[in-house]
């Protein structure tokens, strides 16, 4: 056991004990869904269905139903792909990197952030799949033994790297998330009263009994997965950035992309976690678990990554000027002043200027302001991807081929559909599984719980000697 300074704000407020935590976190699962919940999920499910229908429409008639053209061959599809993948990054970062840095405040948010990762990656994955002209031949991407020579995919292609990067990312994230869920699912199973719930949670919890051996394996697996996930945080978006960086297109062909994309991904991921958690916190009465300290910590990461992204933008402009490359110079002048100026300035405002407001402490700790900013940042990051993808290719080398791109209702619907899918999945998750990792929260209760901290402080004040001996006895 180690102690935490009393100066450090507690991570769990209220008079909590282990049972109380179980009660608090299982309540939303065990209760009947509210009217508001049903209305919301109906709306999101409708949105999702409409998007899926539009995907079917695209597959049936062709990519021509989108606004893409001979010059701009990627538009909203890949913009949304990169955006969703970026959003997913917060989950991995919280699970893996913050775990390795022993940031205990991650306990309150890691579960939902990981769930968000899974759903975001599913949404992201839809785009590269269905942006293909002949989606039914998707298996050509896989290096499977075949009778065509054998014919292998092109291992030089960043798109193929994407296939591996994203499938690995999805698999590891899913395993990590689910591994963490098992003890909590077992808790829910043990409390379940209905036969079906008992059975379902029973199956889902893989026969968890909470024995020492189970815990030992659980911890070991979590550690291994954290180890695997850590490089993934960096690699996935690096590889996504290679889709652009390895090309010859001015505005894409940039070595700065990997760090710039990773920072941007974490930036947007945290913004999305905040958006969801601020709502969940209010609706599910979790203010005592997701505290202002959590929000502030996340806002600090947002300032950091936002500043990295901002520096990257400015570096790009500098390099374009300094390189003396006329195509590069035109590409950047065109971003700022060309027909898509609004996207560029939208990006600059949302991503560079507005997050700097979080240097002000009261704003960092203001729930409403944070919520507003989280939305702004997600818009900004969407603009960033749009700016990189569309404004770079709509005017590249040969002026005669320049064109303009605007999405059609089909593309907009598919994007809205993925938002619907994401929200529906998240709401189902919130209703069926504990949104805060119960077991892990219990781990930190003794150290970071408000009551426990106060008790420990009181204890150490009245028995100073014993506090000393506590230190001495520490192995």
């Amino acid at each position: 056991m180690h102690a935490e300074s009393v100066v450090r704000a507690p991570l769990i407020y209220g008079d909590k004990n282990y049972h109380q935590i179980t009660e608090d976190l299982c309540r939303p699962i065990e209760g009947k869904p509210t009217r508001l919940y049903l209305i919301t999920i109906t709306i999101t499910a409708c949105l999702m269905s409409w998007g899926l229908f539009m995907i079917g429409w695209t597959v049936w008639f062709g990519i021509g139903t989108w606004g893409l053209n001979r010059t701009v061959d990627w538009g909203w599809d890949i913009t949304n792909f990169v955006w969703w993948i970026g959003i997913g990054h917060a989950g991995t970062l919280i699970s893996a990197i913050l775990l390795l840095f022993r940031q205990k405040w991650r306990m309150a948010i890691n579960r939902s952030a990981e769930a968000m990762t899974i759903f975001a990656v599913i949404c992201a994955g839809l785009f590269p799949i269905f942006h293909m002209g002949r989606v039914w031949l998707i298996f050509f991407n896989l290096p499977y033994p075949n009778s065509r020579g054998p014919l292998w995919p092109n291992f030089n292609s960043p798109l193929l790297w994407d296939v591996f990067a994203i499938s690995t990312y999805f698999t590891v994230s899913l395993l990590f998330w689910y591994t963490g869920l098992i003890p909590d699912l077992a808790t829910v199973r043990d409390r379940a009263k209905k036969k079906f719930s008992k059975f379902a949670y029973g199956v889902l919890s893989f026969g968890w009994t909470g024995s020492a051996k189970h815990w030992q394996r659980h911890e070991a697996l979590s550690l291994v997965l954290a180890g695997i996930s850590t490089p993934l945080v960096l690699s996935v978006h690096t590889i996504v950035s290679f889709d652009f960086a390895t090309s010859v297109i001015p505005g894409w062909h940039t070595t700065i992309f990997p760090p710039y994309f990773v920072a941007g991904a974490i930036f947007s991921g945290f913004a999305m976690v905040l958006t969801l958690m601020l709502v969940a916190r209010k609706v599910m009465n979790l203010q005592e678990y997701i505290t202002l300290e959590h929000i502030e910590s996340m806002n600090k990461i947002i300032v950091l990554t936002g500043s990295i992204v901002g520096s990257a933008y400015i570096t790009e402009l500098f390099v374009a000027w300094y390189s003396g490359n006329i195509y590069e110079q035109y590409a950047f002048a065109n971003r700022a002043l060309g027909p898509y100026w609004w996207a560029y300035w939208g990006m600059m405002t949302c991503n560079v200027i507005s997050p700097q407001l979080f240097w002000v402490r009261p704003l960092r700790r203001n729930v409403w302001f944070t919520f507003f900013m989280s939305i702004i940042i997600n818009c900004g990051m969407w603009f960033e991807r749009f700016v990189i993808i569309v404004t770079s290719i709509h005017r590249d080398y040969i002026p005669s081929a320049w064109s303009y791109y605007a999405p059609t209702y089909v593309e907009i619907s598919i994007f809205a559909g993925t938002v619907g899918l994401f929200l529906t999945a998240f709401m189902l998750f919130a209703k069926t599984m504990p949104v805060i990792a119960m077991a892990e929260t219990k781990h930190i209760l003794r150290i970071s719980g408000d009551t426990q901290k106060k008790a420990a402080a009181a204890h150490s004040h009245s028995h100073e000697g014993s506090a000393m001996s506590f230190q001495v006895h520490k192995p």
Binding site: G64, D73, M132, N146, H214, V248, Y397, S403
Partner: protein
């Protein structure tokens, strides 16, 4: 330390069965290794880990199995194989494309009995193997479902015999009463047909043959009659002219004999170190024509200034010759300066200069004749001994016919390949007049605007189904032979005339007889007619020796002509011109031509009003605004395009569209602007003064294939001037040294591609390319490139594998302005904010197609290796491997890759999902029209990328031929479709591994450069620096 046992509970200490059960559950199950190696493993229940193995195997097996099955389509072999037809091999037949004033000597490529491609016939000294977009596209009209499939009386089908009997009876009655019979046709190049018509006239008496040309050159005919007593169009030699001055004559695009003139013109535009000279070309014109875009100096003048400019030039030349001038000749200072320069240069090159004029005004043409006479052009660059037979329409004949018809004095009207209800300015009047004609018969191929008003509609064969001949130029004959059995129940017009003359022979024999009687005796090489005939059928042409031109004496009255010329008028003017692709409207149902961009505006599927930019800026007009044009008493709503280079007070629009009854693709496309044509005196005038244009507030979405007009000063285009080139052959191409120095520096392994045998390469001469677009149609034909229709082009989905980029540059302070401003917040459209003089533009045309890069950026990004590099340097597409990620198209710096956005060809595996069934697409997916597809080229399905293949099927064919004959491939044997079609010989193609080939030699030339060479993608297509002979042209 002693060995103590710790226990957590009594159960553990005692090891009760319940405890042991629980404890064992915590440990993993032993692997059933021994069982696996047991012989009866198969019977054992599956172990947990086998499940994954089974799963993996079955998924893989299912994937492999599922990916192999492709539905088999049956092909039925010939039961009795026709002679000459070998399935899979093409046959070529020499023939002639001749339609009104369009002419081209051709080879028809047929596969399994169906014509699929037109190639130029190099045996002809007129077209010399060149083709035009229209000649290339004419093959599609053969399979046009809008052609009338059987004879009709009114709207009812009729038997040929019944129609013949009735018509013969009626004609007989007319003959008896001495009534008038009129035959109305477009220009007829066929001497046999002309003979036949004459005989028909003699048979029935009181018969007159009237030729109607919608875009007439009657002014030239009439002026020549006055000047020389010869109502003919002389032959022109643009190759012999060192100085060419054209007053609005679009001789490379539409004027008289464009293919012939292009060949001539270009031969004197090519430069090399050995021959560092080229002709000088002044173009005084009102709109931007194809010819003007190629001129060294374009001077924008308004239409009514044209006669004045011609007079001014006459006065200057007459001054040099010591003759007295004529009155008039007041032109703008700018035009005056250039006219002075032109006059000086022409006088210095007396006998090697040429003045042509597109005006249809006989007075103006008389003065042009006078200029050419003073310059001694007759007998050198112009000659009447090798005259041209195009454009025989005499406008007065036609207007007289209309009056006769209105007066009811025409008893029978036979219409052959003419559609005045559409193409006459007062078509309605003609339509009314037809009703007063007792018997009206139309031979037109479809129920068009005129034919739907005639009594009988007896559809003619398509020219590819017919026997015919042509004499485009005096003494240069060519033959047409059928390349396919008639598809519909049609009959050749000439056969109908023969039938009505009670002749027993058919036109084929008539033709032969005519040749035997009139043409065979003019030669001495063949001693029997049959061998002569067979030989000429095979070669397509028979040409008498060119006559040495004799001097011609000019007897025109210049003074009278000058004083009769109308002075320049004030205000805005409108001119009507012929579209380069679509011609006079005959081909308005041809999707290939409809989708072939206008060489200047790059608009497809529409005709627009070209508006000078200053006017548009003053009136806040932008591209696509609808305006109401009022001229010649006619009001019409047209969409506008802002056109740099227009004379500041001139609007222009083209004829060729706005058909109402032409077929599915062309009906209602564009506007019919023939009503703006007016009759002035005896000739039609194609310009109007006192024009008003009023914005209607409506917007129209134009389908334009190029929306950015300049090349932004990039090394996409390299150009120089002739004197710079003479000083330094590397002029304009200085940057190549830098690239040659830098290019070997790379991080990547060098020479990853080994080219041990052939290596294909191409070279395009920017000095030769005139931008006509013949290559685009030829490419679409050869490679089954889909037509996508207007809406799809609006959405920038056009599929052309080769496009012609057209770039403007403007007069600047020192150098010409090639850049547009950045501050373009409106999306599309040109932003030439810093242009001072909108009339002064220079144009360059650049064919752009897949560059077959050695370091191709498209190749390494494809996840499935669907695009790859051949051992002969081709960048090839494997359509059935392509999954359509479009990454290659994004990463192509030249943007030449095309994606099949929809199922344009019905080649998709999904049935009934053609998204857009309008216009061209619907026509091209029709079963009959699909007969035009080239069976050597895969028809691409939806969702795959396609692009130029360097016509790999033709390369393979040539290689195979050489192999069969056990010899190396010769240079020039393998030709791409664009190369063969080009009337300007701008494209050279061949093996660059062999240093002796033409293409290798061009690579050694100092003018050779590569587009975007600094990207180090190593393209296989070199371009030759554009050299302009444009110094001191004022």
């Amino acid at each position: 330390m002693e060995n103590k046992t710790y226990w957590k509970g009594l159960a553990e200490l005692e090891e009760t069965p319940e405890f042991v059960h629980e404890r064992d559950k915590e440990f993993s199950q032993e692997l059933p290794i021994e069982e696996i190696f047991n012989s009866n493993f198969v019977q054992k229940p599956r172990a947990r880990r086998d499940f994954l193995k089974m799963l993996g195997f079955s998924v893989t097996a299912a994937t492999v199995a599922a990916s192999c099955k492709i539905p088999v389509r049956q092909a039925i072999p010939y039961v009795i194989k026709p002679e000459e037809i070998v399935p899979g091999l093409a046959n070529y037949y020499a023939s002639t494309y001749s339609d009104g004033s369009d002419y081209c000597s051709i080879l028809v490529k047929t596969r399994d009995g169906r014509p699929i491609k037109i190639e130029g016939n190099s045996n002809s000294s007129v077209t010399r193997g060149g083709t035009s977009a229209r000649a290339q596209a004419s093959i599609l009209s053969l399979y046009d479902k809008a052609r009338t499939a059987f004879p009709k009386k009114g709207d009812q089908p009729v038997e040929w015999t019944a129609a013949d009997t009735d018509i013969k009876t009626q004609l007989g009655a007319i003959k008896t009463k001495g009534g008038n019979i009129r035959i109305l046709s477009s220009t007829i190049l066929s001497p046999s047909t002309k003979n036949l018509i004459a005989e028909f006239g003699a048979y029935y008496g009181n018969t007159k043959h009237v030729v109607f040309e919608p875009m007439s050159n009657a002014g030239i005919l009439s002026a020549n009659e006055k000047s020389f007593g010869k109502r003919t169009i002389p032959g022109y030699s643009f190759d012999k002219a060192k100085v060419i001055v054209s007053f609005g004559a679009d001789f490379l695009g539409t004027w008289i004999s464009p293919i012939e003139f292009t060949k001539q013109y270009v031969s004197n535009r090519k430069v090399s170190k050995e021959k560092a000279t080229m002709s000088r070309h002044y173009q005084f014109e009102s709109h931007v024509s194809l010819t003007g875009s190629n001129a060294d100096k374009r001077i924008a003048i308004k239409p009514s200034e044209q006669s004045e400019a011609v007079i001014a030039l006459y006065n200057m030349i007459a001054g040099f010759a010591g003759k007295s001038g004529v009155t008039g000749g007041k032109v703008s200072d700018k035009a005056n300066k250039s006219l002075n320069k032109a006059a000086e240069e022409m006088w210095a090159n007396k006998g090697a200069s040429l003045v042509v004029c597109g005006s249809n005004d006989a007075n103006c043409q008389t003065i042009v004749n006078a200029i050419n006479d003073v310059l001694g052009s007759y007998g050198s660059t112009i000659d009447f001994d090798n005259s041209l037979n195009f454009s025989q329409g005499f406008d007065k004949d036609f207007s007289d016919l209309v009056s006769e018809m209105e007066a009811g004095s025409v008893d029978a009207l036979i219409i052959y390949n003419s559609n005045p209800v559409y193409s006459f300015s007062n078509g309605k009047k003609f339509g009314e007049a037809i009703k007063k004609v007792g018997l009206s018969v139309s031979f037109n191929d479809r129920k068009d605007e005129t034919t739907s008003l005639t009594t009988y509609h007896l559809p003619d064969h398509h020219y590819l189904e017919s026997w015919n001949d042509a004499e485009p130029k005096a003494g240069k004959y060519s033959l047409s032979q059928p390349a396919i059995n008639p598809i519909f129940n049609t009959r050749q017009a000439q056969d109908s005339l023969l039938k009505w003359m009670d002749s027993t022979i058919d036109y084929n024999n008539y033709l032969k007889n005519n040749w035997e009687k009139n043409i065979y005796p003019t030669q001495t090489l063949f001693s029997g007619f049959q061998s002569f005939w067979d030989d000429k059928i095979r070669f397509g042409v028979y040409e008498k020796a060119t006559v040495t031109p004799s001097a011609t004496s000019f007897s025109g009255d210049v003074n009278a002509a000058a004083s009769a010329s109308a002075p320049m008028s004030a205000g805005m003017e409108l001119m009507v011109y012929e579209s380069v692709s679509l011609g006079n409207g005959k081909y308005a149902n041809n999707p290939w031509l409809l989708e072939n961009p206008d060489p200047i505006t790059k608009v497809v599927w529409d005709n627009v009003l070209m508006v000078p930019v200053p006017y548009a800026k003053e009136n806040n007009l932008v591209d696509g605004d609808m305006v109401e044009v009022n001229a010649n008493g006619v009001t019409m709503e047209l969409p506008i395009v802002l056109q740099p280079g227009m004379a500041n007070n001139t609007f222009a629009t083209s004829v060729g569209l706005g058909r109402e009854k032409v077929g599915r693709a062309g009906d209602g496309v564009g506007k019919n602007v023939y009503p703006f044509v007016s009759m002035i005196g005896d000739t039609m005038s194609y310009s109007n003064s006192k024009v008003t244009v009023k914005p209607t507030g409506n917007k129209y979405e134009l389908a334009i294939t190029q929306t950015h007009g300049t090349f932004e000063g990039r090394n996409v285009i390299q150009q120089t001037t002739l004197s710079e080139y003479q000083k330094n052959p590397k002029a304009g191409n200085e940057s190549i040294e830098e690239y040659e120095h830098n290019n070997p520096i790379t991080l990547y392994p060098q020479d990853i591609h080994q080219y041990n045998g052939l290596r294909w390469g191409m070279n395009i001469d920017l000095n030769s390319c005139i931008g006509c677009g013949a290559c685009q149609v030829a490419c679409s034909t050869e490679n089954n490139v889909p037509v996508v229709g207007k809406d799809e082009v609006r959405r920038v989905h056009e599929m052309h594998w080769i496009r012609i980029d057209r770039y403007y540059s403007f007069a600047g302070e020192k150098e010409r302005v090639t850049q547009e401003s950045h501050s373009n917040a409106t999306g599309l459209g040109n932003q030439y904010d810093n242009v001072k003089d909108w009339e002064d533009i220079e144009v360059v045309h650049q064919p752009m197609l897949c560059q077959h890069c050695e370091n191709a950026p498209c190749e390494n990004v494809c996840p499935v290796a669907a695009t790859n590099h051949s051992s002969e340097g081709l960048n090839q597409m494997t359509y059935n491997r392509c999954i359509g990620t479009r990454y290659c198209a994004n990463n192509c710096p030249y943007k030449v890759r095309r994606f099949n956005w929809f199922d344009y060809t019905t080649a998709d595996s999904f049935p009934w999902n053609t998204y857009d069934k309008s216009q061209g697409v619907a026509m091209m997916i029709d079963d009959l029209t699909r007969m035009v597809l080239n069976p050597d080229v895969t028809v691409r399905s939806r969702g795959v990328i396609e692009k130029c293949s360097f016509c790999v099927q033709k390369l393979q064919d040539a290689k195979l031929n050489a192999k069969k004959q056990d010899r190396p491939l010769m240079d020039g044997e393998a030709r791409t479709a664009c190369q063969s079609a080009c009337p300007a010989d701008a494209i050279v193609f061949g093996d660059v591994n062999n240093k002796e080939t033409a293409v290798s030699k061009t690579r050694e030339d100092e003018r050779n450069y590569y587009v975007l060479a600094d990207l180090h993608v190593k393209p296989s297509i070199g371009y030759m620096v554009k050299v302009r002979n444009n110094e001191n042209m004022a």
